[in-house]
């Protein structure tokens, strides 16, 4: 079973995604910033990362993904961003990313991306 780490600095969005994936039957943990994300990942060992790009003052989603892939090179990464995705795609050209979503993103869309990862690997 896949373990999903949700990293989102917006509390209400974080709560909704976390609740949703838990109800879908996944093991889910969440973090509000980059530092917390790395700390949680240390004990939780996620297989899927769903992260916002901009995470405030302590680092962004790209930093988190790179760091986590050092421990688990198989980690599947899904990015969500409120900014245009062009700049985000440019900044993580050397990082394998399963899917990019522009906010507002539907839970149904996120769920299909996660199901796809679950089915293919």
């Amino acid at each position: 079973m896949h373990k999903i780490l949700i990293v989102e600095d917006e509390k209400n969005a974080r709560t909704a995604i976390t609740t949703f994936f838990k109800e879908c039957g996944y093991a889910v943990e969440s973090a509000a910033n980059a530092v917390e994300a790395v700390a949680v990942a240390g004990r939780f060992a996620p297989t899927i990362l769903i992260s916002d790009w901009m995470l405030g003052e302590q680092g962004d989603g790209i930093n988190v993904a790179r760091r986590l892939r050092q421990f688990n090179p198989q980690l599947a990464v899904i990015f969500v961003s409120g900014y245009s995705l062009d700049r985000l795609r440019q900044q993580c050209r050397d990082l394998p990313v399963t899917a990019f979503f522009e906010k507002p993103v539907s839970l149904i869309e996120l769920s299909s991306a996660v199901s796809h990862i679950a089915e293919t690997g």
């Binding site: 909704a16 109800e23 680092g59 507002p104 539907s106």
Partner: protein
């Protein structure tokens, strides 16, 4: 024989008359023509000129046999004339007169008199109106280009504002969408109604947040908000803003230091707007991880200098140009950054005061904002 001589004589007289007539016609033409023409002899002295030239340079025939420089003192023209004479060629040169008119002078070597070296014939065509029209058209072109540049800058800052605003609004929209979906699923599953209430509250909160963002943007975009209203004391404003940031400084454990010029004259300002600018600059430093913020005022001639510097990490190279973009997250080394209207508003307030603001972030760390505001013309001298 005498008959032959008579006919030759008649023929000669006829030709002399024809020549005299032609000479009269030529002189008449030269007198009547509005073209200013000047004949220089082989020594480059004035041999003759048309009345139009006399009027142009306010000279009478007393200048005949005098050198060119006696009526036109222009070393460039003189050397061009010498060049034309030496080369037997033609040349064109513009001549600016003391009364602001512009002439195109055409010079051509003229050996009509058969002398050696040849003389030079100069014609003066008034091109003042043409040149003025050309200058006006160039000015219009420059204005159009400047307007195009302003337009492009407006569009570019509008683009930056739109992108930033989209991000800010997309965040609450995202939370609204996700919670609404979750609410619908909860309804279908007939879960605890209390959970549905929580979800709906989250939706209400985010809808309100979206509303406040759009209100801020409208406030930011208003054109006449921050223009100076009267004379005020910049140092007092800086000190007054201390109260507004006190709790934040305590929470983040940041020290605020002042070095204020006591003799700084009063200047035209918008009190609350400048207070807001000071607060936003301190806020930026604190949120970027500084432990010390230094505020310094000084006078430099007819300007008040006002700097806010911090000891936080430096701004990531390449991001410095975006510092004042609305909602742009200007990252500082170590990942810090803030996406809001704070620094854009500072820029806006200073511009509305007719001042300038620039930012530096040296390699060794820290960020410094330098603001220049104009002192009133009647300020006491430093």
């Amino acid at each position: 024989m005498s008959k032959d001589l008579e006919s030759i004589n008649r023929e000669l007289q006829r030709q002399v008359e024809a020549l005299t007539q032609a000479n009269h016609a030529l002189n008449h033409l030269l007198k009547r023509t509005r073209t200013a023409v000047l004949f220089l002899d082989s020594r480059l002295n004035i041999q003759d000129f048309t009345p139009a030239l006399g009027e142009l340079f306010q000279v009478t025939r007393a200048v005949l046999s005098r050198p060119l420089r006696d009526i036109i003192a222009d070393p460039d023209l003189e050397s061009a004339v010498q060049k034309v004479q030496a080369g037997g060629t033609a040349e064109e040169q513009a001549l600016h007169t003391a009364d602001g008119r512009i002439y195109m002078v055409r010079m051509v070597a003229d050996d009509a008199a058969g002398g050696s070296p040849a003389g030079v014939l100069l014609t003066f065509t008034d091109i003042t109106r043409f040149m003025q029209a050309q200058e006006a058209s160039q000015q219009r072109l420059a204005l159009t280009k400047a307007e195009e540049k302003r337009q492009a800058e407006r569009l570019s800052s509008l683009g930056a504002l739109a992108a930033g605003m989209a991000h800010e609004i997309n965040n609450p929209l995202n939370a609204i969408l996700m919670n609404a979906e979750l609410g619908l699923m909860s309804l279908e599953k007939k879960v605890d109604p209390e959970r549905l209430v929580q979800i709906l509250h989250r939706i209400v909160d985010d809808a309100k947040r979206g509303g406040s963002i759009t209100r801020n943007v409208v406030q930011f975009a208003r054109a006449d908000n921050y223009v100076p209203q009267g004379l005020g004391d910049l140092n007092e404003i800086i000190l007054a803003s201390r109260k507004l940031v006190a709790s934040m400084l305590q929470r983040y454990d940041v020290k605020l230091n002042f070095q204020l010029e006591p003799e700084l004259p009063k200047l035209k300002l918008h009190q609350t707007a400048l207070e807001q600018a000071v607060v936003n600059l301190i806020n930026y430093a604190v949120k970027s991880g500084a432990s010390q913020v230094n505020i310094h005022t000084a006078r430099a001639g007819d300007q008040a200098l006002f700097t806010v510097s911090d000891d936080g990490p430096r701004i990531v190279p390449g991001e410095l140009g975006h510092v004042f973009d609305p909602f742009y997250t200007t990252r500082r080394e170590g990942g810090g950054g803030a996406a809001d209207l704070g620094l854009s508003l500072v820029h806006r307030i200073i511009s509305d005061h007719g001042g300038t603001i620039d930012v530096e972030s040296p390699a060794e760390g820290g960020v410094q904002f330098r603001i220049k505001l104009c002192l009133p013309a009647d300020s006491p001298h430093a």
